[in-house]
């Protein structure tokens, strides 16, 4: 934890964990486009399974906070490593915009997470742990609540637009982050690294685009 490389490795490891989380989140959300029931049962399982709720959820929360906190700390440190700035600098000549702006794309994603928590996570926690309703039943109406709650959030056009914009930032973050995490943990191979880079680009485009698609799908289907 004390040296630059240890910190960098921890950034990568928390990043890997978030990548994995995002993928499963995406798969479950995507099921809402295919089957209402499928989405409901998957959501109910994730929302009520004790291993996930008491085991993985705290890890996830820690992972997010750690990735954010360490990211900000390193950024501040790195800023200090060059106290006098260049009068003339052309950073675009040698490094991609994504790689240079991870802190900003990351912060944008975090702001979005705030909204996301407000929309979904806080009501979830309230329903389940404060009100003690672990049934997943929809209040007053026949059926399960998850799908309806999801749809309900994608009615307001501004909120949908905000969601979509956030995923653009997520995509930019991932375009660098995915392959960077492999480099950070010391994986480099002249045959596999190019594949990882391609895979990373694929992931960084497909997953956020998929989330955008889900938002638009539900918005359009309710017009």
């Amino acid at each position: 934890m004390k040296t630059s490389i240890a910190r960098k490795v921890l950034m990568a490891l928390s990043g890997f964990f978030l990548l994995f989380f995002l993928l499963q989140h995406f798969i479950i959300n995507f099921s809402s486009v295919i089957s209402e029931d499928g989405f409901n049962s998957a959501s109910h399982f994730m929302g009520t399974n004790p291993i996930i709720q008491y085991g993985l959820q705290p890890v996830l929360i820690f992972g997010v906070i750690f990735h954010l906190g360490m990211g900000i700390y390193l950024e501040l440190q790195n800023n200090k490593a060059r106290s006098v700035k260049y009068a003339m600098n052309k950073p675009s000549a040698n490094a991609s915009w994504m790689s240079r702006n991870m802190i900003y794309t990351g912060l944008m994603v975090m702001l979005f997470l705030g909204l996301h928590f407000y929309d979904f996570w806080i009501p979830e926690i309230k329903t389940k742990f404060i009100d003690g309703d672990m049934s997943g039943a929809l209040n007053g109406v026949e059926g399960t609540r998850y799908f309806h709650e999801l749809q309900h959030k994608f009615v307001d056009v501004w909120r949908v637009a905000l969601y979509c914009l956030s995923f653009v930032f997520l995509s930019l973050h991932l375009l660098h982050g995915f392959q960077s995490a492999f480099q950070s943990v010391g994986f480099s191979h002249n045959r596999y690294t190019p594949i990882i880079k391609k895979l990373g680009n694929l992931y960084a485009v497909v997953v956020p685009l998929g989330f955008v698609f889900i938002a638009l799908y539900h918005y359009v289907s309710q017009l």
Partner: protein, 255 residues
Amino acid sequence: MSEKGMNLTLKIWRQKNATSKGKIETYKVADISEHMSFLEMMDVLNEQLINEGQEPIAFDHDCREGICGMCSLHINGEAHGPDRGVTTCQLHMRMFNDGDTIYIEPFRAKAFPVIKDLIIDRTAFDRIQHAGGFVSVNTSGNTQDANALPIPKADADKAFDAATCIGCGACVASCKNASAMLYVSAKVSQFSLLPQGKVEAKDRVLNMVEQMDKEGFGNCTNTGACEVECPKGISLENIARMNSEYLKASITKEA
């Protein structure tokens, strides 16, 4: 060969000494040949300044053939200027056009304080090497025969590629975080790829990274700017190798 004689405006960082405050000053040079190297253009400017009774601009340089690593300069926003695979002394004026304005600044990093004008102090690099950039063998002259230990050509070639680092500091200068990872990883890689270096590999990487951090360089965020600006094309692969060497060493090191 057509001489096109360029007129240039130069915006150069001037700073009297380490403690004084510096600023950018503007100079003009005329009739610069496209065949000149960048430092020869600086020579012309300095000759002009001396003739006018002004102090010439201090800059580091020595071999002027791209191998000693002494020349530095951040030229128009890039370490060693706009060309690729060259040091400032090998940069030629044909990369510029008549009427151009050129910014010339020292390599900037907290770990590379300015000594005067464009001259910086890079002894932090030396101190990192003192921490472990060597194989501990005395010059007795009776080590084993050089061919007693065959080394796969692929490993030897990779070690050589890493060993071609000239220690100029362009990697630090280009990195948005002023990180020295490419420099340090080049030496760590060279020795970790060779059987001679493996014996001390763990201590080497731990000690060199510790010293690197102490000097105040930033963290690596894998932007890859260092690799692009490195005049010797040292690969990012070396940083990955150092990361994994470091991980292995810190996990397996005994208390």
